[in-house]
Amino acid sequence: MIITPRYLGRGSWLARRDPRVPILIGVMAALGVIQVWDVRIVVVLFVLAITYYRTAGIPWRAVRRQWAFALAFVSFLVVLNTILTTGEIAALDPSTFHALFTIPVIGTKVSAESLSYGATQMMRFATFIAIGFPMAYAIAPADLGAALARLGIPGKFAFGVDLTWRFIPSLAGDLQETIDAQRVRGYEWDRGGGPITKLRRSVPLVVPLTMNAIVGAEDTIDAMDLRAFGATKRTWLRHLVFDRADRLLLLFTFAIFVAITILGFSGNAKLFVFPFLLPA
C-alpha cells in the first residue's frame, strides 16, 4: 500500500514558487471571498482563481473525480440550504423578495433573491476549491514544515507537521501489514453488514495499528531527546527566499484582498439579484 501526497503540480510555474506563496494566497482567499455576496465580483474572483489554478499544471485526468465530488457536494449543500431556509436569506427582508414559484409538498418559495443567493454561494465554493487544489498538489510535501516555520508558526508545531508527513508512508505500510495479518486469521473488512457492524469490524485494524504506532514512537522520541530537541531554535535544511515573481503575485493578491475588504465594509459587496429574474 502506497500512500503519499500526490505532488501533481511538480515542475509547474506555481510549484516553482516559494511554498509560502500558495499558503498565503489560500489564507487571503479564505478571508477575502467570505466578504463578498455580489455574484459579479465573485465571478471575477473565480476567473482569477481558475487562472491561478492553471499555473499549478494539475492534470485534469488526475483530479476530475475530486472536482466532481466537490461540485456535487457543494450543489447538495446549496440546494439543502435553499430548501431548509424556505427561501429566506440572512439580513434580508423576505417581504421584499420577488417570488417566482413554490416547490410542491414542502412549500418553499423560490424567489429571484434565493436563486441569486444560491448561484453566488455556488461560485464562492468553486472559488475556494480552485484555490485549495493547488495547495494540495503544488506544494512539495517536504517543504511544508519549513514553509510553516518561516511563516511564523512555532518551530515545534512546524516540525510536528513535517514529522506527520514523514510518518504517513510507514504507517500506511503498517496498516497493510495489519490487514494481511488479520486476513490470515479469517478477517474480512468487506463482509457486509450495517455501519455499526462495520465500525466494530474496524477494531482489529484500528487498535493494533494505533498501539504499535504509539509504542514505535518511543524510538523517535529517544532519538529526538538524544539530539536535544527543543533546546535551541531549529534550523531547516531548505532555505526559502521569495523571488520577484513571488513578491509580485503576493502583492497582486494582497491588493485584491484589500479591495474586497473595502468593498465589503462599504456595503458594495451585498447580494446582487440577477435582473432577468426580476419581473419586468
Binding site: 440550504n81 495547495m135 473488512w189 477494531v203
Partner: protein
Amino acid sequence: MATTQLDRSRLWEVSSRVIVYAAIGAALYGVLGWLINVPIPGSNNVSVRPAFALVPFFGWAFGPIVGLFTGLVGNALLDQLSGYGGLTAWNWSIANGLVGLLAGVFAATPMANALGNRIVGAAVIGVLSTIIGLLFVFTDIIVFGNSLQAALTGSYGFVVVPDVIAAVILVPILAAAWEPLKASLGR
C-alpha cells in the same frame, strides 16, 4: 493500573514526546480516515469514520496539545490527501482540533473517572468533547454563507451523529488497550 488522571502541571508542556505523539495521531487520522470509512446508506456521502475516534483518544491519553494537533492537522492532512487542500475547510479542521483539545482538558478533571471507571470516563469524554468541539462547524454560516438550519442539519447534524457513534464505540476500546500498555511503558 496507571495514574487516575493527567498531571495538570504538565498539561500544556510541549516536549519531544508531545510532538511525536501529536504527529503520530495526525498521521494515523489522515491515513485511516482516508482508507477506512463506512458510508451511511441513504445519506449524501456521509460516512462513519472510525479514525475520528483517534482525536478524542489522543487528547484523552496524551493531553490537550496532542489532541488539538491530532484533530487540526489530521483533518487538514485528510483534506490534503483527498486533494481539496488543507485550508479549504479550515474551520472543520479547527472543529476537529477543538474536540482533541477538549478531550485533553476533560481528562485532567474528575470526569476522567466517571462512575469510578477510567474506561467509562474515556467514553464520556469522547462523546462530550465531540458534541461540544464540533459546534465550531457552525462557522459555516460565516465561511460558506450557510443558513443556521443548513449548518445545523447539513453540517453539524451530519457530522456529529456518526462521529459520536465512532467515539462511543472506539474510544473506550482504545482506552482499554492503552491503559495496560501505558503501565508497561512506565508512562
